[in-house]
């Protein structure tokens, strides 16, 4: 990875005022990216423990749409209008992106009702809901591949394809084994990251002490494959009005076995209506 340098701590402490049209500019600073120079071929793992990390999903969705990438969003947890309304707060319209073909949106909740109550002629990406025994996620992979493979007519291509999944833990709840989900991620990575030189972002819940072995297997397996891990955690001391949680950013190099330690940074954050503000641990503006 070239050109990485530590973000300016002073800027973080001052708390850069957000421009309302940008998505989480402070997070972009922390990750040292802008929509113009997004990297390619990377798998980013989002993980939340004892808190809700969905704001990261909203961030990456609007980030990649602004970066002019073609995005395939497998949204299993909430409805389209939910993501659309939040994205509008961050300056992006999902409905418009879908109209112009930049966004392919799989609305899990609505599709699951369709596939469950009526037999479908064509294989549906959520076909596994009808199956009695644990199947595999091949139809879902086919859907993703078809969505992101650029059309042959050579029209003005988008920058790079991006697959966004919210979230993978739901697939475990729906009867898929951890191995099936890892296979799916592997196939998607091979196609999206390696073949199409795109990016992949996935959210997995960390169940913590809930002894969910399948989830732990999935999480550990994905952690080893990821280039970037963003882990949000609730504060160990409990609920706080001014600090909603802690974000740990870990940059990794999965392909090279290296003796150098991976770089990591930890920040605390507070979620506001249209923005998330980050600050160093213990430096919340509320107590300074």
């Amino acid at each position: 990875m070239k050109g990485m340098h530590l973000p300016d701590i002073r800027m973080l402490l001052q708390g850069a005022s957000p421009r309302s049209s940008e998505m989480f500019p402070e997070l972009n600073n922390l990750l040292n990216t802008t929509p113009d120079k997004a990297e390619q071929g990377k798998l980013t793992l989002l993980c939340d423990a004892r808190t809700d990390g969905s704001f990261l999903v909203h961030h990456f969705l609007s980030f990649y749409l602004k970066a002019n990438c073609k995005v395939c969003f497998v949204a299993l947890l909430q409805s389209f209008s939910h993501y659309n309304i939040v994205a509008q707060k961050l300056g992006v319209s999902l409905a418009a992106a879908r109209e112009r073909g930049q966004l392919v949106f799989l609305e899990g909740l609505k599709s699951s009702v369709d596939v469950f109550f009526q037999a479908q002629e064509d294989p549906h990406p959520l076909q596994f809901l009808r199956e009695a025994s644990a199947g595999n996620l091949q139809p879902l992979y086919e859907f993703v591949r078809e969505a992101l493979t650029p059309a042959d007519n050579g029209e003005a291509a988008w920058r790079c394809p991006v697959l966004l999944v919210d979230d993978l833990s739901v697939l475990l709840s729906l009867g898929m084994g951890a191995v099936a989900v890892l296979d799916f991620v592997h196939y998607c990575r091979a196609t999206v990251c390696c073949e199409l030189k795109g990016n992949m972002v996935a959210l997995v819940h960390d169940s913590g002490d809930a002894e969910d072995e399948e989830n732990n297997t999935l999480l550990i397996g994905l952690s080893h494959q990821s280039h970037l891990i963003l882990r949000t955690e609730g504060l160990a001391t409990g609920f706080c009005k001014d600090v909603h949680g802690q974000l740990r950013i870990l940059w990794r190099r999965p392909s090279q076995s290296t003796a150098r330690r991976d770089r990591s940074l930890t920040f605390q954050y507070k979620i506001q209506d249209k923005n998330v503000s980050f600050f160093a641990r213990g430096m919340s503006p509320a107590i300074l």
Binding site: Q78, S79, H82, K110, E131, S173, S207, D212, G238
Partner: protein, 447 residues
């Protein structure tokens, strides 16, 4: 306050709705972002449904849970299209009450009910609903309690009263336009109200006896039948707008009692490594899919204290929108604890959904206790108990009388200020002849 809501503007988006408001003189309370995909071909129509109001924060359409105190804690009410999961208390004493409040609220507002149970006939459940308090006598009793409360919760309770638009009430077809009612648990709901209301019952033993061929899927047959039943009602009665013959402008309130019990054919409460471990979570996922695409709200009570596999509880929580857990003091050592003598149990708000928003309306106070009186189910912050006693000059309840004197001589700085979000109780414990030590009796961290 006029509860104005738009229904069924499918692909209208916020722009067309904003345009609609500017054309007609309505309040700025607009339901943005349609949750129900009930499509109106003629564009958004401004209709108000009885018993609903838009959320102040994000315009989400809300219904009352039947318990105004709980409505406050959930940010105004339960959003239409979401699931409220109630984790039952150990002996199932208070959770049926929440279930009944929800259903009674539906009858009062004229909503359609769908009651599903594996152990009780829905007709019997409806007979036992509490009677609503529709006149001013409830207000008098309420005022007595107001002066005992902490100012913060005062304001919260009083706000609920400001929404009261109460015309004269009679027994009969109820035309209450209030949001959230109070119920008298010692009286039964008048039979006429039940007869004039519309309800559907799903009693599992009856449904299972009919020899329908249900396609094999990894769901247990009981859950399959229930899902098909719910989907059928939603489609037939037009709650999702897809039925061209039916234009429904009402809310469907679904109540599922004790989901997960072995009576449903599910063994999630029986053993840790159960065969049908995904049945319950799959059911919840598809149920939520049905709710999101229709004008309905659902309450599910679940005996999570019986579920031995903690992973399933975590998954079920993630798949639900709002999760509330009740913990009653019956049979626990807290029953005899003088700190809790006024209360019947604790109520934990485990999860509040972030709908159409990055943030949610979390209450600052996390330690809440509830108390059931005949006409009132109150929820208070735990530390108001201590605060009240401290203001009255009473010492904290202590075990050893000489220590009580020592403790009362302590500077107030030694006692923590009741900060929001932290509930601590201290009790002086003593060895037989040893020095006194402060021990934390009950400390509740928790996000």
């Amino acid at each position: 306050m006029a509860a104005v809501a738009t229904c069924g503007a499918g692909a209208g988006g916020t722009e067309s709705m904003a345009a609609a408001t500017s054309k007609s003189n309505v309040t700025s309370f607009q339901r943005r972002g349609p949750r129900a995909s009930g499509t109106d071909s003629g564009g958004p129509r401004l209709v108000s449904i009885a018993g609903t109001r838009p959320s102040v924060r994000n315009g989400q359409l809300l219904v009352s849970t039947g318990l105004p105190a709980l409505d406050q804690l959930l940010g105004g009410g339960l959003a239409v299209g979401t699931v409220l999961l109630v984790e039952e208390d150990k002996y199932s004493i208070y959770s049926p009450l929440l279930f009944k409040y929800f259903l009674a609220e539906g009858i009062i507002n004229g909503h359609t009910l769908l009651v599903a149970s594996a152990k009780e006939d829905p007709a019997d459940i409806l007979q036992e609903l509490p009677a609503p308090l529709l006149d001013d006598s409830c207000k008098k009793e309420f005022d007595e309690d107001v002066c005992n409360k902490k100012p913060e919760s005062d304001i919260k309770m009083k706000i609920a009263w400001r929404y009261q638009l109460s015309p004269k009430m009679e027994v009969g077809p109820v035309t209450s336009s209030r949001f959230g009612h109070y119920y008298d648990v010692s009286k039964r709901i008048p039979r006429e109200l039940i007869e004039t209301s519309k309800w559907h019952g799903f009693f599992l033993p009856e449904k299972m006896s009919s020899a329908d061929k249900v396609e094999c899927c990894s769901l247990t047959p009981g859950y399959m039948k229930l899902l098909h039943f719910i989907q059928n009602i939603i489609y037939e009665e037009g709650f999702d707008g897809s039925n061209p013959q039916k234009k429904q402008r009402n809310i469907l309130r679904i109540g599922i009692q004790s989901l997960g019990l072995p009576l449903w054919g599910d063994d999630v409460c029986c053993s840790e490594n159960c065969d049908s471990s995904h049945s319950l979570s799959k059911f919840l996922y598809i149920l939520r899919g049905l709710l999101r695409t229709s004008l309905s709200a659902c309450i599910i009570t679940m005996p999570t204290h019986l579920i031995q596999n903690k992973a399933i509880i975590a998954r079920v929580t993630n798949l639900s929108d709002t999760v509330v857990a009740l913990e009653s003091f019956v049979g626990s050592e807290r029953e005899t604890n003088p700190l809790y003598k006024d209360y019947h149990g604790l109520i934990h708000i485990r999860q509040i959904p972030r709908l159409n928003n990055l943030i949610c309306d979390e209450s600052d106070v996390k330690d809440l206790a509830f108390k059931l009186k005949r006409k009132l189910f109150t929820i208070e912050a735990e530390w108001t108990v201590r605060e009240r006693d401290r203001k009255k000059g009473l010492p904290l309840p202590l075990v050893h009388p000489p220590m009580a004197a020592a403790a009362s001589a302590l500077q107030p700085a030694h006692r923590p200020d009741p900060k929001p979000g932290a509930g601590y109780f201290f009790l002086v414990s003593h060895g037989v002849q040893g020095p006194s030590t402060w021990a934390i009796l009950h400390c509740t961290p928790g996000p």
